[in-house]
């Protein structure tokens, strides 16, 4: 099957070490107090100025970055967001924003349209305001997010909902998926709760209980992924990369520290205030070290029965173990839950088992079509 242009971009970017995808947290300030939030509880330093952020954008464009994510914190707390978006527009990025949406009004929607923003991803935890606000701990935040969704959709801005599943909202994803379908909005649901960027583990206390994880993965939002997992071949431990971190993706935090991935807090490759971004990207020893890591290096995973279900994450390993190659309890719980969910789904639906075991099979499910969900592009 010929490669799609998106697959070709991804392949070229990894082969040539082009940071095709960049994530900038422009601020860590946020008015929400979500317990699962991955931002560090203590954070110092002065945020990059408008001029500094624009310089970073210019450097990224020169390095080949096409996909830009601007996030936070709450990105709309940056008073200069319009200036930053104007620069991103001029530099021809495909730009998406991550936000809780509470500051989005008609004027800001017009700004997003004028700046050709590709996508606005809104954190939305439940259709039940009580559940949503139990997580955000901000009264009225549900109605404001809902209003933002309506404004953006009405204006033709592409909206994606993002819902981490925690012990507060597990079991309510079906209603949320139905809501997204009714508005024709893609939704990303994930029960993988991460430690904070600085490696604090308190966020894990709100993760879905282990015993409930297989049920979460059995919910309708995950049907296509279950199918893809059932059909997937055994995991390969070869020379290929575990992910795009430091190869095709780069992260810059609010004070200008550069990392291979947002979650690799403390693994700074340098700071854009001290060295040009291109110099950091090309010659940082930290990034070089991450680039050299391949699937074959994961000795602890090679004999694991859940290997093909595992979304091994070097950043998660780093946060918990301070190495890049050790599976964590959280990763192992998740992959085990996915295997149990696939097995249970096969048991419940024999036709699913027959399709999954068909060597030709259907393509459905491997690209998330038809269920209102959308996997991350493989960048």
């Amino acid at each position: 099957m010929p490669m799609t242009p998106l697959q070709a971009i991804s392949q070229k970017a990894r082969a040539l070490n082009v940071p095709i995808s960049a994530h900038i947290d422009t601020t860590y300030r946020c008015n929400f107090i979500c317990e699962h939030c991955i931002l560090p509880s203590q954070f110092g330093g002065t945020e990059l100025s408008t001029v500094e952020v624009v310089k970073v954008l210019e450097d990224l464009a020169a390095l080949g970055t096409l996909f830009l994510t601007l996030s936070g914190g709450e990105v709309f707390l940056r008073k200069d967001l319009d200036d930053i978006l104007a620069a991103a527009d001029r530099l021809r990025f495909c730009t998406k924003l991550y936000t809780h949406g509470n500051f989005i009004d008609e004027a800001r929607v017009a700004m997003l349209l004028a700046r050709h923003v590709s996508e606005v991803q809104i954190s939305f935890y439940s259709i039940d305001p009580c559940v949503h606000e139990k997580i955000t701990r901000v009264p009225g935040s549900h109605a404001k997010s809902l209003h933002a969704i309506d404004l953006l959709v009405a204006a033709g801005v592409r909206v994606v909902l993002a819902c981490p599943v925690t012990r507060y909202n597990f079991g309510s994803t079906k209603e949320l998926t139905d809501f997204a379908k009714s508005r024709k909005i893609p939704i990303k649901i994930s029960p993988q709760i991460q430690p904070t960027y600085s490696g604090e583990l308190h966020t894990l206390s709100v993760a879905t209980p282990s015993c409930e994880l297989p049920n979460v993965y059995l919910e309708p939002w995950n049907e296509s992924t279950l199918y893809a997992l059932a059909k997937a071949p055994a995991a390969k431990f070869d020379d290929s990369a575990n992910c795009g971190a430091a190869r095709s993706t780069v992260y810059i935090n609010p004070i200008g520290d550069v990392q291979g991935c947002a979650l690799m807090g403390g693994l700074s490759a340098g700071n854009v205030r001290q060295r040009p971004l291109a110099d950091i990207w090309r010659s940082s020893d930290v990034l070089k070290q991450i680039r050299e890591i391949a699937r074959k290096d994961r000795e602890d995973c090679k004999r694991c029965e859940n290997a093909k279900y595992c979304s091994f994450c070097m950043a998660n390993s780093w946060q918990v173990t301070k190495t890049l190659l050790s599976p964590t309890a959280s990763m192992c719980e998740q992959s085990n839950a996915k295997r149990l969910a696939v097995e249970e789904h096969k048991r419940r639906l024999p036709i699913f088992a027959a399709m999954a075991d068909d060597p030709v099979g259907r393509q459905r499910g491997e690209n998330g079509e038809g269920d209102g969900t959308e996997p991350e592009p493989d960048l």
Binding site: P5, I9, L16, I20, L66, R92
Partner: protein
């Protein structure tokens, strides 16, 4: 005569990248994507060179002159190829006609 006039007029055309397009050149090839992510295009080396000349505000006849010098081709044939590419890119919404 009418045909010549039309061609002469077309060859002075300037094009601009549509505001809905994001793009980068990676490994000698241009990758273009509509900002809603719906459509992606991959240009070969020659088409990428033409796109770069368009972005440098060159008219079609200036693009042809540059390519003729760079590739040692016949100007008429290059003009036809450039016109075909422009027509294709306009029809796909990648380029829009700019000021004369």
């Amino acid at each position: 005569m009418v045909g010549e006039k039309t061609q002469a007029s077309a060859s002075r055309c300037r094009y601009e990248l549509s505001p809905d397009i994001a793009w980068r050149k990676i490994g000698g090839e241009a990758f273009l994507i509509t900002r809603d992510g719906a459509l992606t295009h991959r240009l070969n080396g020659t088409a990428t060179r033409i796109l770069e000349l368009v972005l440098n505000d060159k008219t079609t006849d200036e693009i042809v002159a540059t390519l003729t010098a760079e590739f040692s081709g016949a100007p008429d044939a290059i003009l036809r190829d450039v016109d075909d590419l422009m027509t294709e890119m306009v029809s796909r919404g990648v380029l829009v006609k700019g000021g004369g």
